[in-house]
Symmetry: C2
Subunit: 436 residues, 2 copies
């Protein structure tokens, strides 16, 4: 047999450099990797151990969510429509302090994994505390992920002594490095306003030494400049550049309050960007200059942010939002078109988090991380242009099948490996305690 | 039997004046109307011909979509990411001219009805050409609707002679008046830049004479003022007020480019507003000052606009968007909170289109237009506040049951009356011709 799995009778959205779309297409998988992408006529179903009929659906790369805090699903909808400081101080920090443990963090992360898989995400980039528990959940779920143990200059859940933060983060990397092809450890340094210059520099040193991604929230709110205590003529991005922490292995999350000079710095340093439009809108943080960042050649991926601030991990929703938001803000309906959005949600996200060699597009040699969208639904009829439906009409619930590295994790809209009822019941029990 | 149908074991979101939420609630239906809303403990299942167990889901009023062009689903995704004039002139007008007939309009409208029902909409307010065909589709689907035959000073699909537009619109009202409790005819006068002052006045006269709603696109684009040819000191809203066409039976659709004086005029005249955030974003039309309009006491409902410009009729998506959009635009995460959004999508929408006496909330005496949301899904766990999940986490696909005037039109996420495969196949055949 040439293929472990052969998918046939779908329209294949390759998201390769030419954005080739193949009608009556097929994708062959061997050894967990893509071995064939082309017309159905180029393969024989007799060459496959298993044949999956996409029944006219869309076969596309699995979505890459470049920013999550997976355990925070425990706090989904706990408090909304509040000022950021009230939301954080009166609700989120209290809930984290009183209810987070490795066990509850894992339960929350498993819930997030279930939600992500059912809505088409095959890769996420996460940063949180108790990241060991997150890694266990992700490993159990079978997702691909870049994970970072949080570093912050305050007592954090599970790390009461901030002095030990960097050590913990280093231990996490050592533990998870080379353990699996699916999990890539990284450093998650919270932000320039919650970490001192020394902490930022030391955290980046570890990331450099280990050759891993350095994730950091950057330029999220308008007052970040004042919170850091910067002089008038320096921006948060320029400050971070001065510390030497910006390079091609840095992921700047949010990057909202950046000016033209900042974008030039970010482009020169080849920093990856995680754009989180729905979280930024809901928390009224601001609107990142995505059009300008893309024009500067930056790798801009999409992210949902944590479920406490979004309140969902549906990348289809995020795609629809990013396409529409920047059009109205720029008074130009031609910007951030459907193909651009799909790139952001797949290959550009993979590039931003350092995984574009292994995932983010359907090309031979890459891991078989892909989804099949069921288009036989009224809201996806008629179908003139697949890219339009993916961005403007489809929802996470339209994902019928999902595969990571050749393994089916969702079949016929059901999870194959995770027990969704057990996960939901565990989370309910934790939520009952939080409610009290 | 006291009840035809009794729904039990749900959390009831009444959307009454106090926004009462009833845990372990029940809704009883008799003669198509709501006969009981309260705790399960207040009713006996023996009193009902049929008992429906909501299984812990959310029971809420069906959603009210205040602006649609139902047949335009035929053109969903035909052309996106274009300047408005290119989109209209090169694609939409051509497709309408060459492919619209009463038969194709009905097919498109049926597709829209299927999509609306499956995503929780029980009432829509539509305006288009071939509105007779739309009415037939809506009647077949069993939806509640306000429908208006289009009036425009140009040759329109099915009405080559603009002089006959007003006569056609009058005939439509006569035909559909008092024919059904579900269909309420109205006048749909396209806009002040496509209709002369004489046409606007005459169309409003018919609406007044028949006592029906006068729908009109108003202040949608920045250049509408110039298109109408107004002098510098007059706005489109002031112009319309000068014509005497603004009153409590007028629905102003979009109302984006309105200033403080315009809002005062709209409030004094008690004009209803249809806010279409996703369409306005996608077409880069602008962002309506919803917060200010609500503060002025205006009835602001939500609408999706037609599927050619949105490209979906999912009111859950629209709810999530409206909540987040105005927060980021106003730099304030506390505005347009979840309860406000739910009101806009139900009772305020009903008020804007003149149906708040019969639908839009779960209160005894109103028609039983309601939906049950299945919350036993990972993305709706845990559940702290139902209003939060409805706005920020749920999707149209989470609607499990839907009822209009006591009739189940969706059960277990399937249409009970419409043949969805036949509808999709018919639309596919039309789309094949459009593609050529």
């Amino acid at each position: 047999m040439q293929f472990e799995t052969l998918m046939i009778n779908g329209t294949v959205i390759t998201v390769n450099a030419d954005f080739d779309i193949i009608e009556n297409g097929a994708v062959g998988v061997s050894g967990g990797r893509i071995d064939y992408v082309g017309p159905v006529s180029g393969v024989s179903v007799g060459d496959a151990a298993r044949v999956l009929d996409a029944e006219g659906g869309l076969i596309m790369p699995g979505l890459v969510n470049t920013h999550t805090h997976l355990p925070m699903s425990l706090f989904r909808g706990l408090a909304d429509d509040l000022d950021l400081d009230k939301w954080l101080n009166n609700h989120i920090f209290a809930a984290e302090k009183n209810h987070l443990s490795p066990e509850t963090a894992k339960s929350g992360a498993l819930l997030s994994c279930a939600e992500m898989l059912l809505s088409g995400t095959t890769t996420c980039c996460d940063g949180y505390f108790f990241e060991d528990a997150v890694a266990e959940a992700v490993e159990q779920a079978g997702l691909r992920a870049v994970l970072g143990q949080g570093i912050i200059d305050f007592p954090a859940p599970g790390v009461p002594d901030p002095k030990k933060n960097i050590e913990h983060a280093g231990d996490f990397i050592k533990k998870w490095k080379n353990r699996s092809t699916l999990i890539t450890p990284s450093v998650f340094c919270h932000s320039p306003y919650t970490c001192s210059d020394t902490t930022l520099i030391r955290a980046k040193e570890i990331a450099k030494r280990e050759g891993v991604l350095f994730q950091v929230h950057l330029a999220e709110t308008r007052n970040e400049h004042d919170l850091i205590g910067l002089s008038k003529d320096i921006t948060p991005v320029a400050y971070m550049d001065g510390l030497g922490v910006l390079d091609e292995k840095t992921l700047a999350v949010h990057a909202i309050w950046v000016n033209a000079a900042d974008i030039e710095i970010l482009a020169n340093r080849q920093v990856g960007i995680s754009h989180n439009p729905e979280s930024n809108m809901k928390l009224a943080s601001g609107i990142a200059p995505v059009h300008e960042m893309l024009a500067a050649g930056l790798a801009v991926g999409l992210g949902t942010d944590g479920n406490a601030s979004n309140n969902n991990l549906d990348m289809f929703s995020e795609m629809g939002t990013v396409a529409k938001l920047h059009k109205v803000v720029r008074h130009d309906p031609t910007v951030i078109d459907a193909k651009c959005v799909i790139r952001m949600a797949t290959i550009e996200g993979a590039r931003a988090i350092g995984l574009s060699e292994v995932t983010g597009s359907l090309e031979t040699g890459k891991f078989a991380d892909l989804i099949v969208i069921d288009t036989r639904k009224p809201h996806l009829f008629p179908l003139y242009h697949p890219q339009s439906h993916i961005v403007y009409s489809a929802r996470g619930a339209d994902v019928r099948h999902l595969m990571v590295a050749g393994n089916f994790l969702v079949e016929d809209s059901r999870l194959t490996k995770l027990d969704v009822n057990e996960i939901m019941d565990n989370v309910n029990a934790i939520a009952a305690r939080i409610r009290r």
